[in-house]
């Protein structure tokens, strides 16, 4: 039956069960964040003083906080702010930092020197201090402004990493080879350099989203994020610190939500990188 010259198909390691669990979890988070107001959730702002600091039960899946608000509902609503901040800020940061880093690393010369000098000067500022300073004066604060400020503050860091990654690729002979075949600069940037920088770009993007979620939490702690009582994972953790001894669930649940979200993102990124990596020779 079998043809004698049939080649075995290219074997690829399957992505694995855990990968799909992580994808499912991220999907669930996104659905929760997007449809929080249509889902059958309790009002995250409603204070029920008859049930304060109760543990998980059927009525309150994750219990209630010190003023009787449903924690489950607050965690789901909180993901809205956290995830939007994380993704939004990285869109700004990577949207500006990544193309600029690739371009300067490829072209070099005076333009590169100028941009890099400016970026390093910006890096000399402690990012979090600059963020706090701007947010203190830019009122009234809303999610959009927070995203813009964190996003802009991340540009120099992203620029530096993408530039370094591109530099190491751009100095390889295949770039010169493409050039002497008559490839245009745009073609070299998109077809030769980008696929080589992509793995670094994607893993850093995922770490970036995770970092922004925690930065938003830090800002919330200083009262510089969205105003309470609007929940976000960050400000829930920070608010709960004061009552941690009486009701540890209050810190644990949003922290677990944050951890699982970030772990899933990182695991997905890592699996995708190894799955699509063709540069590493497999023995």
């Amino acid at each position: 039956m079998a043809h004698p010259h049939v080649e075995p198909p290219e074997e690829k390691e399957p992505l694995g069960f855990l990968f799909w669990i992580c994808v499912g979890w991220i999907g669930l988070n996104l659905v929760g964040a997007i449809f929080a107001n249509v889902l059958p959730l309790q009002n995250p702002l409603y204070q029920n003083y008859t049930s304060i600091n109760v543990g998980p039960s059927l009525h309150h899946l994750l219990g209630t906080d010190d003023i009787g608000r449903d924690i489950f509902s607050r965690v789901v609503y909180g993901s809205r702010i956290s995830i939007t901040a994380g993704i939004g800020a990285m869109i700004i940061g990577f949207g500006v930092g990544a193309p600029l880093g690739m371009l300067t690393a490829y072209r070099r010369g005076r333009f590169d020197t100028m941009v890099t000098t400016v970026m390093y000067a910006l890096l000399a500022f402690p990012g979090i201090v600059a963020t706090i300073a701007v947010l203190s004066f830019w009122v009234p604060r809303d999610l959009f402004k927070i995203i813009v400020v964190i996003g802009v503050a991340s540009i120099p860091i992203i620029y530096r990493i993408i530039r370094a990654a591109t530099l190491s690729v751009a100095s390889r002979d295949f770039v010169v080879a493409a050039k002497v075949q008559g490839a245009s600069d745009r073609r070299i940037l998109f077809k030769e350099l980008l696929p080589n920088v992509a793995p670094i770009l994607i893993s850093f993007l995922l770490i970036g989203v995770a970092t922004v979620v925690t930065i938003e939490g830090a800002l919330a702690f200083l009262g510089l994020s969205v105003n309470p009582p609007t929940p976000s994972w960050g400000n829930m953790i920070n608010e709960a610190r004061t009552v941690m001894a009486q009701n540890p669930w209050l810190v644990i649940f949003p922290s677990v939500a944050l951890c699982l979200f970030l772990l899933s993102l990182n695991y997905i990124g890592d699996r995708l990188r190894t799955h699509f990596d063709v540069a590493e020779v497999k023995l």
């Binding site: 080649e7 070099r108 010369g109 005076r110 390889r172 002979d173 295949f174 010169v176 080879a177 493409a178 050039k179 002497v180 075949q181 008559g182 490839a183 245009s184 073609r187 077809k191 030769e192 696929p195 080589n196 992509a198 063709v278 540069a279 590493e280 020779v281 497999k282």
Partner: protein
């Protein structure tokens, strides 16, 4: 004797200078030669003699701000020195192409090899996707890659070094260049593969009517495959001529020393290889005299103060730069 029309490449007084922090560094100094159509030329010299800088200058690839290239490189009548990027892009691929030294870095690791070949075809020759693919498979077959249809979809990481170098050659040949520059095309490969690749280049040169410039430090490589040899030392041509002449009647002691330092099959076993004492000069501090004088057994007072120019030897085309040229009877004494 050849007429002007049959000359594909005319290099005149080509000089490449790098502006370094320590002052100007002349990597290629006043090089002139020409190359006929369908001719293979070898450029030999030890590491740091300016071979690679010379070949990149001929391609017009030095575009960093700290490099100045003067002189003239006429490729098929088109001046390359000082030409705009746009003009050079038109020449690259179709007029002149390059095979790089290291097949491990000269292929994009994340692009299928077929794509790397047919990119050039589609961009430069405006071929359709299907035509380009068919041509790329033809090219893979031409460079001796077994089952090219299947290899078309392979990534460079899935091929051996020799296979990769064949792919590199295929990409260089994609737009049928008139001149192929091969900068040490076999350095990264083992000896049996080296011979295969060199024979392949020779066959392709015949089939496609190309001219080839073979840059190497290995005289064995150029001995049988070139019709003309240029010997470089410290960025200058010290001897050039037909391969037969250079091997049989070389006049420059450096050429002799190079020949002496490669092993010969006729030597008895355990013969100690002759080495050239000292090391190549610092190009930043070149003396006024002959650059080879400090290492040369025949150096006289004059060699240290006055630079010898290329002077014609007996045979047409053969010239050398030496004040105390060797004669066939004279034995070289190095070390």
């Amino acid at each position: 004797m050849t007429t002007e029309a049959s000359k594909l490449l005319v290099v005149k007084d080509l000089t490449t200078t790098f502006a370094t922090l320590a002052g100007p560094l002349t990597a290629v100094g006043g090089v002139s030669f020409d190359l006929n159509k369908n001719e293979t030329m070898g450029i030999v010299g030890e590491s740091g003699s300016g071979k690679t800088v010379l070949s990149r200058s001929i391609m017009g690839l030095q575009q960093r701000t700290n490099v100045t290239v003067t002189g003239s490189v006429l490729l098929n009548g088109q001046e390359i020195v000082g030409a705009s990027e746009k003009v050079k892009r038109k020449l690259w691929g179709t007029e002149v192409a390059m095979v790089f030294q290291d097949p491990m870095t000269s292929l994009n690791p994340v692009m299928r090899i077929g794509k790397q070949i047919d990119e050039a075809l589609r961009v430069r020759l405006g071929m359709s996707r299907a035509d380009a693919k068919a041509r790329a498979i033809e090219l893979l077959e031409l460079v001796g890659i077994p089952s090219p249809q299947r290899r078309y979809n392979a990534y460079p990481g899935q091929l051996s070094g020799g296979m990769r170098q064949r792919v590199v050659i295929a990409t260089a040949l994609a737009c049928t260049p008139k001149l192929l520059m091969a900068d040490e095309p076999t350095t990264g490969l083992d000896v049996t593969i080296q011979a295969q690749i060199l024979n392949l280049l020779e066959d392709l040169k015949e089939q496609l009517h190309m001219s080839v410039i073979l840059v190497t430090h290995d005289l064995g490589v150029v001995a049988t495959r070139t019709s003309k040899i240029v010997v470089m030392y410290a960025g200058r041509i010290v001897e050039m001529g037909s391969t037969r002449e250079v091997f049989a009647h070389h006049r420059m002691p450096y050429t002799r020393a190079l020949l002496e330092s490669s092993p010969k099959i006729t030597n008895p076993s355990h013969t100690r290889l002759t080495t050239i004492p000292g090391r190549p000069p610092n190009l930043l501090k070149l003396a006024d005299g002959c650059s080879f004088a400090p290492r040369c057994a025949y150096a006289t007072e004059r060699c240290h103060v006055e630079r010898p120019e290329l002077t014609p030897a007996g045979q047409p085309g053969h010239s050398f730069a030496c004040w105390n040229p060797l004669t066939s009877e004279r034995e070289v004494v190095v070390a």
